[in-house]
Amino acid sequence: MKRKIALLIGATFIIFSCGKDDVVTKTSPYSLIRPDYFPEITYPLENNPITKEGFELGKKLFNDPRLSLDNSVACSNCHVKGVAFTDPQHNPSVGIFNQIGTRNAPMIANMAFQSEFLWDGGVSHLDFVPVFAIENQKEMGEELHHVVYKLNKIPEYAPLFKAAFPGIDTITSPYMLRAISQYMLLLVSDKSKYDRVQKGEDVFSASELTGKAVFDQKCAACHSGALFTNYEYMNNGLDLVFMDVGRELISALASDLGKFKVPSLRNIMLTAPYMHDGRFKTLDEVLEHYRSE
């Protein structure tokens, strides 16, 4: 009899701990698919494996204005989904208390393949870009530790963080930042006509081919490859006097004065205004600049 009871207790214990384990460790992996004509993935996915739960949490954080000082500005205010995650209305971007920033919000797509971020490349890991946005006086004006404090006070977040990062008991900044990265990593732009042609599913029209020939000759030195950027810092002749020192801020090299990261040209029809300070409203203005250069 005693033995039976012991067995029973043992069994329930096993069942119990099994059940508990199950609840704690179940996340569903999401995979990031790299088209074979894309550059290599630069993000260290092994440190932050993408899961459904992490992605969903990141998406919620990205759209939550409570990440800003006056609870008015979310990442999605300046990186709007419908226009390839850029800021269509503002030139440059507008942050908290309607303050105008000095730079134009870039498109957020194909971040998994990029190794330096911002127009000057100052940030060298995707996880750290939101720290810049949150703490920038003219963007979200918050302090990271205060955002973490706020998130810990919002009841809906605790279960979402626990689901995305099993085993944690309080929300800390690395988990918040890694969740936002998981969301951004899956924003992959690879469904354009260019991509269909690359995959052999479509062909360029005659006029497209003419455009491509000009592009290959005049533009592809900088806007190269499947992402239309060589990720280098260049001066495309916008100014002689620089309001924004650009890459020089990071490299401390006089010859980098006024150089900016060559932007990807994917979704270019949607990402107006153009250039680091958003000076051109239309692509015609951009082409006029290159024509007169």
Binding site: V123, D127, P174, L177, L249
Partner: protein, 291 residues
């Protein structure tokens, strides 16, 4: 047959075997005792050497005009805040002993990266465990967080960018050493974590820069240094010697380059922090060991 006989009947033979075995066992035990690793404490004590006398530091509130220290250019100053990272600690001994502290960075915490904060006295004490038994007379460490601390991504513990107050968001990476205070010769206008804009006579030295980018003047300001002890720290199970290192804040401004508080006193970029960074190795010294 003869031998068998011998085995069967020679009692003294058995006792010899027994004895040898016993000795073997005892010496074995002694041996493994000797090999049992122990702990060692490395203490980083911030001081100011004034007129040849080591003084403990006194922190004052931002804006204070109570200038207790004098730099190498006879300019007086005080201190609001002093913090720095220590990592990659390595100990060596004269008989080939080597201990390399394990460095690991993850979202749940960090190992082997220590943040010494003058405002938190206990932060200066680093306890290393599982150090192989032996004698040590040399320490090597790095001031600043190396590339692996950044490329791992958002990290917790001492590297949590929300709490460490040592993170540069515009040029992502960790500040190696942060000093803020006031000097009577500063025109003010500095910005810092504590020395805020508007505080007159502020001086702020945020020394950092871990990137080494080919073809740029980007400045690498982390410093690795070694010190030899004049005595040896004996480590084994049950012993916890304490190696006492000092950091002289006066030398931060004078050991190699004389820092002038009238200009370049609002340092927030690698290139601006280079002269003070070069003073860091000369500001540390081995002091003594408590066995």
């Amino acid at each position: 047959m003869k031998q068998l006989n011998f085995f069967k009947h020679n009692k003294s033979f058995y006792s010899v075997i027994f004895l040898t075995l016993a000795i073997f066992m005892v010496s074995c035990k002694k041996d493994s005792d000797k090999k049992d690793p122990g702990n060692i404490e490395i203490e980083f004590d911030n001081i100011a050497v004034v007129n040849g006398i080591e003084r403990q530091l006194t922190l004052v509130s931002p804006g204070s005009t109570d200038y207790g220290y004098t730099n190498g250019m006879s300019q007086t100053f005080n201190i609001n805040l002093l913090r720095y990272y220590i990592t990659n600690i390595k100990l060596e001994g004269p008989n080939g002993e080597v201990f390399t502290d394990h460095v690991h960075v993850s979202s749940s915490g960090t190992e082997g990266i220590y943040l010494v904060d003058e405002a938190q006295p206990s932060s200066g004490s680093v306890i290393l465990d599982n150090v192989p038994a032996g004698e040590y007379n040399k320490i090597t460490f790095t001031v600043g967080v190396e590339e692996n601390g950044v490329t791992e991504g958002a990290a917790g513990g001492n590297l949590d960018p929300a709490t460490c107050k040592m993170f540069w968001n515009w040029n992502s990476g960790y500040i190696a050493l942060k000093f803020e205070g006031q000097s009577n010769v500063s025109a003010g206008g500095t910005t810092g974590t504590e020395t805020l804009e508007g505080v007159t006579k502020g001086i702020a030295y945020h020394i950092g820069g871990w990137k080494t980018i080919d073809g740029t003047a980007f400045v690498y300001n982390n410093k690795t240094m070694s010190f030899t002890f004049d005595t040896k720290a004996k480590v084994e199970k049950g012993l916890q010697p304490a190696v006492h290192m000092v950091f002289d804040v006066i030398k931060l401004f004078s050991s190699k380059n004389l820092i002038d508080f009238t200009g370049n006193n609002n340092v927030h970029k690698p290139v601006d922090g280079k002269p003070a960074a070069e003073n860091i190795p000369g500001a540390f010294a081995f002091d003594h060991i408590h066995q």
